[in-house]
């Protein structure tokens, strides 16, 4: 097969946080990087994110949270994926995440955390290096 598989990612806003400027900018950066980006919109539950990600067959879920509920919402997404036997969707997070939460989130299965000031290019490059389109 000459053709490469397209990277499909989901950008999701869990919880009651109503600020999605960041998520939209990230979605656009991913599009400009050549990815197919499914955007769920605001106020999603971990459940609805996981089920949508499965239906969309994405390679990565990017969670955005600016309202402080990341310590529950992010690991919950990872847990629900596991519960459904999904082990090949990378979960990353971004937003206003205090430093002291980062190592904890990592240990709970969030592959990477991007905080304010992270450069779009760096985020895109991280995804390119760490998330591969599913094969077979």
């Amino acid at each position: 097969m000459v053709k490469e598989r397209k990277l499909r990612v989901m950008v999701a806003k869990p919880g009651l946080d109503g600020h999605d400027r960041g998520a939209r900018i990230i979605a656009r950066a991913f599009r400009d990087a050549g990815f197919e980006v499914v955007y769920t919109g605001l106020h999603q539950t971990p459940d609805s994110i996981v089920l949508a990600a499965i239906q969309e067959d994405v390679d990565m879920i990017g969670l955005s949270s600016l309202a402080g509920a990341h310590r529950y919402l992010f690991p919950e997404v990872v847990r629900l994926l596991k519960e459904r036997g999904v082990d090949d969707i990378v979960v990353v997070g971004g937003g206003i995440i205090p430093d002291e939460d980062i190592s904890r989130l990592r240990s709970e299965g969030i592959a990477e955390i991007f905080t304010p000031g992270a450069k779009l290019d760096d985020i895109v490059n991280w995804v390119r290096e760490n998330v591969k389109p599913r094969s077979g």
Binding site: M1, F30, R31, F35, Y39, D47, A52, I54, D57, R134
Partner: protein, 323 residues
């Protein structure tokens, strides 16, 4: 994917398998054709509805409401929401789910966003295959939502049994766009956001255009009704569903000789599309892969060759003698 068990899993309605199969279809994985061959006998049960209209007319909102109505009637629904791929980067933002996320917890609904991909993307064929998969999965209705601009997207809409063309008031140019070919594919016209000024004017314009084609709609032929709706408030959606059922009954009654001719025409189109896209895929990919294509590009750029001869040579090298 284990292709052998994939067929059984799709028929059993396994969401993960269906999702991955559609990905494979989109990525043109060759093995997927074997699965589609075996799935074909399990298709033909779902009723396929196309929703098309310019960006911003409210397609996703309408589809969301339609899904809601069908679920209340106990019907299962598959949705394919097509969004454009950026011709500059190859990426796409697929945002149709935003308006439909309330159905994501519902087992009876499967929503998938598709990107149009590039000009060798074969949108029509892959969307048709995706429809087949959702059909085989057992969905009662499959709704395909597309912007409906350009040949590819019009063709996609043609694979629907009932096509709904959406417009909104106050976009005079919109009607102009419809003239370019969408008018012919519409079985039902829906003026959304009908509380806006100009809804009656739009209605009259549409009526006129449909009447002008009265030869086409003469006798016992289906004449496309024009409906008004405010999808966001769920107004006019129940009426749309009724009209779709009427059209479905009309298609059933007009079966027999005429129906057979229509079916034959659709099969002809689908097969032509399949052959075309397979040819393009095989030939172009082989030529690109072998480097012949780029050598020809270089030769034309440097002025050694004209593109017409280069094209002839490329095709002869792949297909043998040309007429």
């Amino acid at each position: 994917m284990d292709m052998a068990s994939a067929v059984e899993k799709v028929i059993a309605g396994d969401v993960r398998t269906v999702a991955r199969l559609i990905r494979d279809i989109d990525d043109k994985v060759p093995e997927v054709r074997e699965v589609l061959k075996d799935l074909y006998v399990h298709t033909g049960k779902a009723y396929v509805i196309g929703i098309t209209g310019a960006p911003g007319v409210g397609k996703s909102t309408l589809v969301d409401q339609m899904v809601n109505h069908y679920r209340k009637l106990g019907k299962t629904v598959g949705v394919l929401a097509v969004d454009p791929t950026s011709p500059f980067t190859g990426g796409a933002i697929l945002g149709d789910r935003i308006r439909m996320q309330r159905h994501s917890l519902d087992d009876g609904v499967f929503i998938r966003s598709l990107a149009t991909r590039g000009h060798f993307g074969g949108l029509t064929e892959s969307t048709r295959s995706a429809i087949d998969v959702l059909d085989a999965m057992g969905k009662d209705y499959v709704i395909v939502e597309t912007v409906g601009v350009g040949q590819d997207e019009v063709d996609v809409v043609k694979s629907a049994q009932t096509t709904v063309v959406m417009v909104i008031p106050g976009m005079g140019d919109d009607i102009q766009a419809i003239k370019a070919g969408i008018l012919e594919v519409g079985d039902v016209f829906l003026i959304n956001k009908a509380d806006r000024e100009g809804a009656d004017k739009t209605f009259n314009e549409l009526r006129q255009m449909i009447d002008m084609g009265h030869n086409k709609y003469g006798g016992d032929k289906w004449k496309p009704p024009i409906l008004k709706a405010e999808a966001v408030f769920d107004r006019g959606v129940a009426e749309l569903l009724e009209t779709i059922e009427k059209h479905r009954n009309y298609l059933l009654q007009s079966s027999g000789e005429k129906g057979l001719a229509k079916k034959r025409e659709r099969v002809r189109q689908e097969l032509a599309e399949m052959v075309k896209s397979r040819l393009v895929q095989e030939v172009v990919e082989h030529l690109v892969g072998s480097g012949e294509f780029d050598r020809a590009v270089d030769a034309i750029t440097s002025g050694e060759k004209d593109p017409y001869s280069a094209c002839d040579e490329l095709l002869v090298s792949k297909l043998g003698a040309l007429k």
